[in-house]
Symmetry: C2
């Protein structure tokens, strides 16, 4: 397998971007990534896109749309679109890595984009709930939020995390969001902001869930041996793994862990030849706070029962000298344009591992990990990047 490097990365601002179309967002992220790699569009020979739902913009065939509006179609570049719910960006990244690793393509751009605010909230929620089991969950009136609320209740009941510890995941993301100029929310919050916000599905409140967002992110891949030709600021893709689980939550042995995360993490650590102890910075999928808490445990970064405490005592902050979590602001504060999420995690790790994360730079990180989740853990990708 040919080794793969990331040689550039870029994101748009995330937020309610009324003035920018899906097309404009994708283009902006792509241009930033190419500029960061000191690369022209002419040098790219394949495009991968994570995008959750074309319903948001009444357009199928996102692969062709992106090729077209980035000018790649003029050279008939292969363009491929991936949908895997919240993991769309993570899966797209992994496919891009395979394209280079296989030798099929040399310079690949992986983008993720979503334009969600053009639909009303009910329609957005209908699409989001489509990541649950249409027959056995959504069809019965369950929403993604209510499923995560059940997980939270069970975590609290079993003593795995307290309500305050779960809320602290949102605090951690908002704390970091203030340092990220592209984040949707850039204000530090108090724990009470989460606890006393309006309820969505109890015990969760408005501040336990990531926002509805527009935005796009992109990274550029090439064979590791060619990376130096383009830039000195490159990182190695040490591993990228993917695992699945039942679509419906009730079919799991336990709802307080995502086995797909554990399996993908195990494969990724093996592939990278490291253990969880080597990870110094991680971007985890905190679309719901409780998901962030589970992630740290399922990834083996903390023991079961310890992750919530880490959020609460500040161990997860970029400058705490432990494992820095969601230094980008996470999905909660950075924003959650679904297809972009998994790619935006890679953008953050690229910044951290090339020492360009400015005010939120983690010190001496050799390995960074990104975890991207679809539905209630029915698809998970775990990728590990290595500083060079």
């Amino acid at each position: 397998m040919r080794e793969v490097a990331i040689i550039g990365a870029g994101s748009t601002k995330f937020g309610e971007l009324w003035g920018q179309s899906f097309r404009a967002l994708g283009l902006e992220a792509g241009m930033k990534a190419m500029a960061s790699a000191d690369l022209s569009g002419e040098e790219i020979d394949a495009v991968y896109i994570g995008n959750m739902s074309s319903r948001f913009i009444a357009q199928q065939h996102i692969d062709a749309l992106v090729a077209d509006y980035t000018g790649m179609a003029g050279r008939h570049i292969a363009s491929t679109s991936i949908e895997a719910g919240g993991a769309s960006g993570g899966v797209a990244f992994r496919q891009g890595v395979m394209a280079v690793a296989s030798g099929m393509h040399d310079v690949v751009i992986v983008g993720g984009a979503e334009k969600m605010t053009d639909l009303d909230d009910d329609s957005v929620n209908e699409v989001l709930n489509g990541t649950t089991d249409a027959d056995w969950e959504a069809g019965m009136g369950l929403s993604l939020t209510s499923l995560y609320a059940m997980i939270a209740r069970r975590m609290i009941h079993d003593g795995i995390a307290t309500r305050e510890e779960i809320a602290a995941c949102a605090y951690n993301s908002h704390f970091h969001g203030q340092f990220n100029k592209d984040a949707q929310f850039r204000k530090e919050i108090k724990l009470d902001t989460v606890l006393k916000a309006g309820p969505t599905a109890e015990p969760l409140t408005m501040f336990d869930g990531a926002p509805i967002s527009d935005g796009a992110s992109a990274v550029i891949l090439c064979p590791l041996e060619d990376a130096k030709k383009y830039t000195d600021a490159y990182v190695k893709v040490a591993a990228t793994a993917q695992a699945s689980d039942s679509l419906a939550l009730f079919q799991r042995k336990s709802i307080t862990e995502f086995e797909a995360t554990a399996v993908a993490a195990q494969q990724a650590y093996e592939m990278a030849g490291i253990t969880a102890q080597d990870i110094k910075v991680a971007e985890v999928h905190d679309d719901y706070t409780v998901g962030g808490v589970m992630a740290l445990q399922d990834l083996g970064l903390y023991k079961k029962g310890e992750a919530g405490k880490a959020f609460l005592d500040g161990s997860t902050k970029f400058d705490a000298g432990k494992i820095a979590i969601n230094t980008s602001g996470g999905l909660k504060a950075k924003g959650y344009p679904i297809g972009a999420a998994g790619v935006s995690q890679i953008v953050e790790l690229y910044a951290q591992l090339t020492n360009s994360a400015n005010d939120r730079q983690v010190k001496d990180a050799k390995y960074g990990l990104a975890q991207s989740v679809g539905g209630t853990g029915s698809a998970v990708t775990v990728s590990i990047l290595e500083a060079m």
Copy 2:
């Protein structure tokens, strides 16, 4: 790049399958493919799915759905879903090949499935028209059918094909459909059946377009060096290429050729180390008759102006001793469950190249080619299989 083999293939019947769900269809095709490879589900370590629109079944996250309902989720197998309009199956196949070629996975199942008949025709057409440019085509009232009708008019005007020659593409597909027990339509038709059917968008009639169908297809991939462990009936994936073009038809230099087909074909021939003259059997994307005519020309199998004549004079029949085209019945007669289409082409070529195509067996074919098209040629895959 590790060489890749196909060691098994299977399809459901295509048609209006009111009694079978999306899940049941996918499972049936997968089981048939595994049985054909003499393989158990335990041996599969990744799944790829071509699926055009989850709207047909009110379910996002098709990757997880398929992993779940095939039992793969129990072992947390990576599952990835691809949407590329009509090329969804073709692109999924190519991604599956890359997964094996890269060394990331060993035994991969590539499936394609669509359940279209649960929606009313207007809704189906709305989704199909979503493969055109939402802003500049569908948004202006253009449908996919009317775009292909414009192509047909131009072909006739420019003397590239007569109306009868275009219609002969449908005749050829129906001729072959009678030999395929899984085909939606199994009756030979007359040229007049096409010419005198009700108009859809002039000059095209009902018989110029592929039907709305349910169905699923699947193939099993593994490293070429391991193929013999499973079966003697295996074929080599000699090449798989993919190209893009503008989403909107009006942006092309010419609307009587799909450059994406020409580019992908050129890359595929180079990768396989052959020329168009080596192809003896081909499955081309005849979602509209005029698309089938263009395909033969753009693939270099016939010169511009000659393809329609080949359909009309019977050169394209399986036993004509020339290049056998759409021996499965093509999308026109076999049926067109969109995501399954590109994979079903590979299923047919696998049968032809392993001498198991029964009543429609092409003699002495060493190389077979499959072309899968999204929208009006905005995404095209060309794959070449080699008999072993």
